[in-house]
């Protein structure tokens, strides 16, 4: 077997050092009733060629070569070649969590840069090294707010990604964290501020909003922050489309930012692996979950980095830890780091502007459901979303996401996303399908 580096001769030498006859005898102490007395029912090992062939066949069954206007938390953005070049380096790909700082400065330095760039983008003061994804960062942020405020109620906007809210509900059930939802204004598609005013009270630990929200609409963050803070609650700002931060005002008034970085050169990959983040104010950093890298010096006085504030974490605090998170998404966060480096200050803005232009071109040709300002996603109204999507599929185009499954009251709604990868011809075909 090609992944096992020993010859039979070497195995025999090792067994004789142990004074045993066979490798099997090393399991002789296992009780007979726990032993598997038959071969695993898994076919014989395959060659590299056969494996590649098999997965290529699977890939060919998956919309290979289709254009797509799906967004809804997973975005099609171009992935610069440098991204895979860097993350394919053995030294990044095949290293462990950087506990041993002296031989992990590569990973530690890139995480420190990542944390810095996330702060620059979000307007926060500190950021962690990554969470599993945006959806799990949300409940972690909510639990953080509970610890910080000593309150337990959480208000979440209905315009936060529906699956993020489902994950929040799963986590909240056993945390003694009652959750209520705040509606959206039917006209604008933004959070209904009056509904928020009505539901918030002195027991509210946090208000959770997403912007651009699930409908693509940009929320009035300063207004929501003002309402939350007036009641002593924290504002948790969620983002799912990180490219928007290249152009939109960062959530400076938020207390905790929980985000998804998939847009930063992370393949859609049918939903994962992605990378989430939590960023916050410095005064809240000791309640942040996840790994954090800090700057220090080595004994020769050189700048060095190491994992820090470990007193928050499970391997030290066990059941008193801020979270059970251990393995996170380091390599995916590195993809985002390389992406941010390649695009840089000007590039991220230009990229965001292209997204804005493409989405507004498409939206201009369709009937928009909401009046609120949007970035690269919007809801269009259609008599039959299914019929439109079926006709587009015939032209190898995956249309918008019909919203009925998440918002029954929006049965005519379709969520469309256009990015820098959307072509004008394809958008014109979408418009044509609507016209039919």
């Amino acid at each position: 077997m090609r992944y096992l580096p020993k010859s039979e001769i070497e195995r025999r030498e090792m067994l004789s050092a142990l004074g045993v006859e066979s490798r099997e005898s090393l399991f002789a102490h296992l009780p007979a009733e726990v032993r598997l007395n038959r071969p695993l029912d898994i076919p014989a090992g395959k060659s590299e060629y056969e494996i590649i062939d098999q997965f290529r066949a699977r890939g060919a069954e998956c919309a290979d070569g289709y254009a797509s206007f799906l967004g809804a938390g997973v975005y099609r953005h171009y992935r610069p070649v440098l991204v895979d070049t860097v993350v394919s380096r053995s030294e990044f790909l095949t290293s462990y969590t950087p506990y041993q700082a002296e031989i992990s400065q590569g990973t530690l330095t890139t995480i420190f840069e990542f944390q810095t760039m996330i702060c620059q983008l979000t307007g926060m003061e500190v950021a962690n090294a990554s969470m599993y994804d945006g959806s799990t960062a949300v409940p972690e942020a909510a639990m953080m707010a509970m610890r910080l405020t000593g309150r337990d109620r959480v208000l979440v906007a209905r315009t936060v990604h529906p699956e993020y809210r489902e994950v929040l509900a799963t986590y909240a059930r056993h945390q003694g964290m009652p959750i209520a939802e705040v509606d959206y204004a039917r006209e604008t598609g933004a959070l209904d501020l009056a509904d928020l005013e009505q539901k918030i009270d002195g027991e509210t630990a946090a208000v959770i909003i997403q912007s651009p929200n699930f409908f693509g609409v940009i929320e009035d963050v300063p207004r929501v922050a003002e309402i939350a803070h007036r009641h002593g609650a924290l504002l948790i700002f969620v983002f799912a489309e990180a490219v928007s931060l290249g152009l939109l005002e960062p959530p400076r008034d938020a207390d905790i930012v929980a985000g998804e970085l998939q847009s930063f050169a992370i393949s859609p990959s049918y939903g994962g692996p992605f990378a989430g983040i939590i960023a916050t104010k410095e005064k809240f950093m000791r309640q942040m979950p996840g790994r954090i890298v800090g700057e220090t010096k080595d004994t020769r006085g050189n700048r060095a980095f190491c994992l820090t504030l470990a007193a928050r974490e499970q391997h030290i605090r066990r059941e008193k830890a801020t979270s059970n998170i251990c393995t996170n998404q380091a390599l995916v966060a590195l993809m985002a780091t390389v992406f941010m480096t390649v695009y840089g200050k000007q590039g991220l803005r230009e990229l965001a502007e292209q997204n804005l232009a493409k989405a507004h071109y498409l939206a201009g040709k369709l009937r928009q459901r909401f009046s609120g300002p949007f970035f690269n996603e919007f809801v269009a109204s259609a008599k039959s979303p299914e019929a439109i999507n079926e006709s587009l599929l015939e032209r190898k185009i995956i249309g918008g996401l019909p919203l009925a499954r998440f918002y029954p009251e929006l049965g005519d709604g379709m969520l469309f996303c256009a990015t820098e990868m959307s072509r004008r011809e394809e958008m014109d075909l979408v418009a044509e399908a609507f016209g039919q």
Binding site: V86, S135, T296, Y343
Partner: protein, 494 residues
Amino acid sequence: MIKKVRPHVNQNEALLFERSSPGKRGYQLPPLDVPAVDAASVLGRGNTRGEIANFPEVSEVEAIRHFTRLSAQNYAIDLGLYPLGSCTMKYNPRVNEQVARIEGLAWAHPYQPETLAQGIMQVMAALEQALAEITGMDAVTLQPAAGAHGEFTGILMVRALLESQGNPRKKLLIPDSAHGTNPATAAMAGYAVENIKSNALGMVDVDELARAVDQDVAALMLTNPNTLGVFEENITRIAEILHAKGAQLYMDGANMNALVGIARPGDFGADVMHLNLHKTFSTPHGGGGPGSGPVAVKKHLIPFLPKPRLARAEHGWSWNYDLPQSIGRVRAFYGNIGMHIRALAYILAHGGDGLRNATLDAVLNANYLRVLLEPYYKLPHQAPTLHECVFSDERQARHGVRTGEIAKRLIDYGFHPYTVSFPLIVPGAMMIEPTETESKAELDLFVDALISIAKEVEETPDLVLTAPHDTRTSRVDEVTAARKPILRWKPPVK
């Protein structure tokens, strides 16, 4: 003598922000094929930002040098043995990386029509099936993103099962040798933790367990083989004790690399367990993720699995959301699919027989290290070793040298350290897991290094106490890092 390495020239590298200069760029966008729009007018002036202060501005050449130079400051499996106990740092086959990047798979959107996602759903179904066969369990969810996330999922399912029977119960039993994620998970699932002491062999004390299990106990979270690399020989008895009182056996599958093809948790009484694809199934650790933590369950827990579930429909695979007893979602979409692809590629490459062979070699390697190192380091627990062995620094501590310092000295010999000071039940623990993908030559070098260090401890302890000596970064001041946290770069004050 240090045989594996010698120092070589290694580049210094400033931070990106220090390398930046205004106007540099590493990208070029294609020309816009639609009319440009004025951001401030369509978004509202208050909604657009000014420039992102201090964001990087470097060229493509500087970017690749930056990351390449930094990469050279890392140790990695591809450079040699990475003997972290319970981390299973095995070779990460490169074909896995290639197949995960096949366009139709890598660019699949989670909401694309099921008819256009059959290939990827088939990959997931095949992996679920293989993992069920390997663990002897009845069903598998691939949704959890990592091991600790799998623990959380599994314990929520235990809770849902017990709630459906009328009483979720109050606490989880956790052996004192367990990973820190176990008690942290218990807290997140709303359970109190009661520690169970190990016996002299490092196994669960069955009598103490029998005393501890009552109507308040929801489950025992057990790692088997445990963190000493020791198989819990009374495992079927342990399961009986729990089941007799209506409690569940949760198995932490972190150490499954010792059992694949040899014994199956489903056959020895486990009700629910998680696997770490980034340990047993060779997906890369990537400097701390992404992982993937599938959870496997017996029949009685199937109704509580997270939703959605893969289901066989008339025309192929589909997602079933109609699961009234499900614990709900533990993450958006369906899991870390890229890791599922890699793990399936690994299973296909080995085949059933190869997987079993890998287990045999993993255990052979650990036993080989144990036998060759035992004359030099104390082995506090004498039970037979499976995939890892745990020494204590007791003899070296008499010379004032502790496990953490021996670990740092190993770096000078060209090796990544073992796991330091864990499990907590061994004072001064040195926890070593070689995995099956180490050659005899690499193991021999490692043994030579540790024997040499044992001598240094007796003859020149200062040499060990101040290690590492030959690395570009010497001992790092972690205390100051935690006391005065600097968590981001800031421009120097002019």
